[in-house]
Each structure stands twice: as C-alpha cells, then as structure tokens.
Subunit: 208 residues, 2 copies
DNA sequence: TTGGCCTTGTGAAATTCTTCACAAGGTACA
DNA sequence: TGTACCTTGTGAAGAATTTCACAAGGCCAA
C-alpha cells in the first residue's frame, strides 16, 4: 500500500470523531461536503483521503455513517485493544489516566510508572503506581503496545531507552525533548511550548 | 512578508530550544548541519527556514548561537510578555499552570477560571481560581493575549464563544472538540485522541 | 422506464514544501 | 598574502499534497 501522510491520518481521526457524534444523533448518511465543513477542509480532500483506502460512498447519496465509521476504525486499527503504559505519574500522567475518551477508543491503561519513592504503590484510578525500574521486566509479560512519556525532560531520554529496549514500538511523548529512537519505533510528540510559540508567532505577525 | 507555513514555525521553535540548550553549555557557534541533526531534519531545510527571515549565518563558520537565538526569539515574538488565561482548572490546567518552561519563555499565567463552585477561590500556584462568568469582564481590564481551553468537551464551544467575544485572538485548545472561530483568531489544538490514533495506525500498518 | 438531480471517485493541474547542488563568501593556517 | 577548506544562501529541480473539474453511478419521482 502507498505511504499515507501523517496529515491524512490526522484527518481520518477527525472524520471519525464527527461520525461518532452524528452516530449518537441517529443520522445515517453524510456527504463529503458535510464532513469537510465539520473538519475545516474541502470535500475533495475528504474524498481523496478516503479513496486511498477504498470506495466507501454511494454516488448521489454520500457515505453511510455506520459503515464509514466502521471502516475508519478498521483503518486506524481501533478494533484492537491497545495496551498503554504511562511513565511519569505527575499532572500530565494524571490527566491522561483520567481521560475518558481513552478506554472507549480501545486504549487500555495497563500500567503507570514513576521513580519517586513517595508515589510508588499509591493507587491511581485503580492502578498502583509501579517503580519504573520494573518497566523492562513487566513489559516481557504484559506486552505494552504504546508507552506514554510524561516525565520531566531530564529523565525522558533515559526512560525512552528502557522503553525501546523493552520492544515497545510506539511512543507518545509529552516531555519537551527531542527523542532519538530506532526507525521502527513511531513517536508522536505533544509539546506545549511549541504550540504556545506558534500562537505567539501568529499574534506577532498577524495582519493588523 | 511571505506567508510562513506552520511547519516552518514549529521547526523554528525546535531550533530555538536546541540553541538554548547549547547556550547553557557555553557553545558559541553552530552549523546548519548540527542543528539539522538535533531536530531530525536536513541542513538545507534549516537554512531555508532561516533564510525566510534574513541572513543570520557566517559562511564557513555557521551561526552565532547568541545572535541566532535572539533573532528566533524576535521572530517568534518571545521578547514580549504574553498574558495567558487558563479556562478549566482540571488536571490539564494544573499541569499547565505548573509547567516551568512557561514563564521563562514569557508566557505569564494571568488568571485561571473554572465554573465548578467547589473550586472557585482556591489558590493554585499563587492564582485564585475565578468564576468563568467573570472572564468577559476581566478581559476588559486585564488584556489577556492567549486563552487556554482545558475544559471538558461539552463546555468548550460555550467557553470559546466568551473568549472570542472578549477579543482574545489566540486559543490553545486541549478539549477534544473542533472549535469554530472567526478567521482573525488563531487556534492550535492539542488532541491526545488524535495522537494516540496516529500511533494505532502506525502500529497497524507498519511493515512487518 | 425515463429524466433530473445529486454526490462520489479520480486523473490532471496547481500549489506548497523539501531537497539538491553550487557559487559566493569567509576562516585559518602556512 | 595565498591557498585549502568550510559553510552559508539560494535558484532550480523534485516530491508531496491539495484543489479542480468532470465523467460515472445511483436515487427518486413521474
């Protein structure tokens, strides 16, 4: 299959969230134009994105919402349950552990780690916080699919080393640090500083 | 000036963070090639990005780190102090309020809002949590530049309405909702579901 | 069954973004 | 001062992404 751009995948996620909303409202059909408006893009873009994976629509009618959302879930790999471990039991880790949208999309928080002795063993949303020193060992038996790095920046590199050695192939990084990983490991980074600086740039350079 | 792509601005932020790191290590000069390696891009990309704003390097030598980081701060608008208000005093709001990198980049948390009566008035990193009903009024006198939306998704649209009416032109959205704003308001969204789904896609479709 | 209407799927064009490749300019050292 | 060596800045080429525009297919009502 052709390589799919990251921007395309992001849009697919967006489309899916709109479809789920409409699903709840008991609407059965949606056109590429409607989807485009919801997502701030164009109908041609929507159709192009979807056509990379097949022909899901009916000419003259649009897309069946249950069918298309099923297809999108399949494309995005959301039919499977993904086992996620969170490393770093700070505020960000807490926000993630509590985030509802998670479980309903098939992301199971399988473990939470920290290195602070004061936190170890504390219960957190039904998870006891474990010692990060056990991560490598646990990974052998618990098969984590995704690791979330929510540590301070200075520990991130070290933690990532452990994660990679444990054979985990996907990392969501919240630490404001550039990670180095082998090419078979996928990293997505969420960096608040970069987002804020983007806003700062926009405010500074906007037309007056 | 030519329109600058969002991807370019993101890279500029990254470059700046590398420069600051090097600055702390008392290194004086850096080549586009080094910068490229740190950021996972190419030297040509680095030079192209910078050349959009001027000629900051010395041929044969590279870039002066103090000079370039100064220029980048200027380009990104980080010389000014930006006044930020956070709406939503949950875990994400808390993580933001405590994030150190913030103040040192000139982002001042000027106020924190919530609508939960149980939280109002509580002190939070030297900020009393205020009632979101006062946001519009406060904005008149306190001139917030940036609003961070960290509410549950169902309140986001309403909160954004208030923010826009208050004349705030930049929004950082953590709610998993597509926001609708006038074209003179810049929005950056951080959506954990989209990032995780991107990882799910990568895991599902990776070469075996 | 026919005709009008609507929306998809998709080549081709346009645009945007990235990489190439090299002249120009500057350093450093003999 | 001259020469060898670097690294920038940048047109031009190339790649990727988005938009255009329209034929093809399907619904619906008469």
């Amino acid at each position: 299959m052709k390589r799919i751009a990251e921007s395309t995948v992001r849009r697919l996620s967006l489309y899916l969230s709109f479809l789920e909303q409409r699903e709840r409202d008991r609407v059965n059909t949606i056109s590429s134009d409607e989807l485009a408006h919801l997502g701030g893009t164009t109908s041609a873009q929507v159709r192009k994105d979807l056509s990379l994976f097949g022909s899901f629509g009916k000419r003259g009618l649009g897309y069946s919402i249950p069918e298309l959302s099923g297809k999108l879930r399949e494309i995005l790999g959301l039919e499977k349950q993904w086992r996620v471990c969170i490393v770093g039991a700070g505020k960000i880790g807490a926000a993630l552990a509590r985030y509802r949208g998670f479980a309903e999309r098939g992301f199971v928080i399988a473990a939470v780690y920290d290195s602070d002795p004061a936190k170890l063993g504390k219960k957190w949303e039904s998870q006891a916080i474990r010692d990060v020193a056990n991560l490598a060992k646990d990974a052998l038996s618990e098969r984590f699919d995704i690791a979330v790095v929510a540590t301070p920046p200075e520990s991130a590199a070290e933690v990532v080393k452990v994660i990679v050695e444990a054979g985990i192939k996907a990392i969501l990084n919240f630490a404001p640090t550039q990670l180095t990983v082998p090419s078979d490991v996928t990293v997505r980074a969420v960096n608040m500083a970069i987002e804020l600086e983007g806003l700062s740039f926009a405010l500074t350079n906007r037309a007056r």
